[in-house]
């Protein structure tokens, strides 16, 4: 893993600020692991915008359909 870090990090690994930052990043990124399995192979980031903007329209269509 250490080999993937930038030269800056390699050179400053023993600097307290760098260690704190690495610890924070590890905590923050670690939380997503158990939810990644729900992402399909085809998922794209732009789908978020579609979901957000279509929600109200979808509700209206459903209400019309249900009379």
């Amino acid at each position: 893993m250490k080999n993937k870090w930038s030269a800056f990090l390699d050179q400053n690994y023993d600097v307290p600020e760098v260690q704190f930052a690495l610890k924070s990043v590890k905590i923050i990124t670690g939380t997503k692991k158990r939810f990644l399995k729900h992402l399909s192979f085809e998922t794209e980031p732009a789908e978020y915008g579609k979901a957000l903007s279509a929600y109200k329209l979808d509700i209206q269509l459903e209400e019309e359909k249900n009379g």
């Binding site: 990124t29 978020y48 579609k50 903007s53 929600y55 509700i59």
Partner: protein, 479 residues
Amino acid sequence: MVDEALSRMSLTEISEALVKREVSSQEVVRNSLEELEKRGPSLNCVARLFPEQALAEAESADQELSSGISPGPLHGVPLLHKDMFYRTGKISACGSKICKDFVPDATATALLKLDQAGALDIGRLKMVEFAYGLTGHNEITGDVRNPWNPEYIPGGSSSGPAAAVAGFLSYGSLGSDTGGSIRFPASCCGLVGMKPTYGRVSRFGAMPLSFSLDHIGPLTRTVADCALLTQIIAGKDTNDSTSYYQPKPDFLSGIESGIQGLKIGVPTTYGNGPSGFLDQLHPEVQREMESSLAVFRSLGAKVVEIPLPENFEISNNMANIIAGAESSSAHANWLKEQPEDYGSQTRERLLTGLLFSAVDYLDALKLRKVILEDFLKQVFDKVDVLHAPVVPIPVPTLEESNIQANPGFIEYLTLLGHFTRPFDYLGLPALSVPAGLTDNGLPSGFQLVAPPFEEALLFRTARAFEKENPWSYPQVTLG
């Protein structure tokens, strides 16, 4: 001689008084400039003023009204905004040393819309450096102070707007919200603050922090003022690729129609898990939340407990990944060339953002749609709006929350944004409303969250609460 009664009028009141010619724009602007000169320094909230331009524009506004033109809804009203809204030829320092001489060559769409409504842009207000922080501290320009008690934080990053509006130095103000930067200071200073739906208000001409999470919205002293400003600045803008074409109802027309039968959700656990969204809430803030829910019940709303989707638990962290990566990318050149010109906390946060991998960033963006859809289905299929705290603890003092870049500062900021940042991640509209006071005498607010583009529902709900639970601001004695 300052006319305090004039300063204490709401935005809608002063607008009506101007149109009825009960007061002239020149009188209002002179009064505002005197107030700013007299009390602005003690709050340390003013970045810069445009007095000569303001007085000239006020004179024109009065002449236009005399000549019988049809006035806009803010004709002749002076406003000040966070120091990150660009206007051609005017410095936008963004609370920083790095941009202290930055003069943009474009004007923010939100400002142009206020111009068209007749508002006068009379200055800029201080903010957290590059809008990256919730407490309101700024190592470069100095800490803004809370008008309720100057020893306490005003909240950030829209610290100057919150202090100025709560301190009667501006009738309203534009702020920005990437992790809570409108709602958090609104709660700390007892204001109404709207973070609209992502894409509802153009960000063109506003300093970017994290383009996937940045929202623009107003801070005001009343719900109607907030609805009015949101009405004016909302709408599709071809200059902002993330703004959406969506119907824009009149946010003010139904605002008095009450909330009989409205279903208000109170969040409990994440799925069936043991932990809950409100677990880290301070008892005094919890007390104010319960009081506000009692008011809603008395108004005919049905308050129901509702579990949140299990995956919502990671929203705060996913927002931190996105904000970290995008802000570090935006600041990459300055970080390389002049890192010493940043305040220590901003620099450390930006450097930490460089450590997120491209995969982490894309995962956070991809999970956004999944979590949003689960949230909409599991929450808004059952309730109309969600009720949640804004700030998890009583407003801290400037001293006790001055964590700078000390060990644990990221975890502290993550905790402070626990209730706000997830709704930037989901992009849902959220309105911060004053609830009551904690034992230190400082305000505590709740937020109402609605489905996408349902800002009108939030204003109606908040207005019903405001009518039943009128809010009074402190007699400001600073200066």
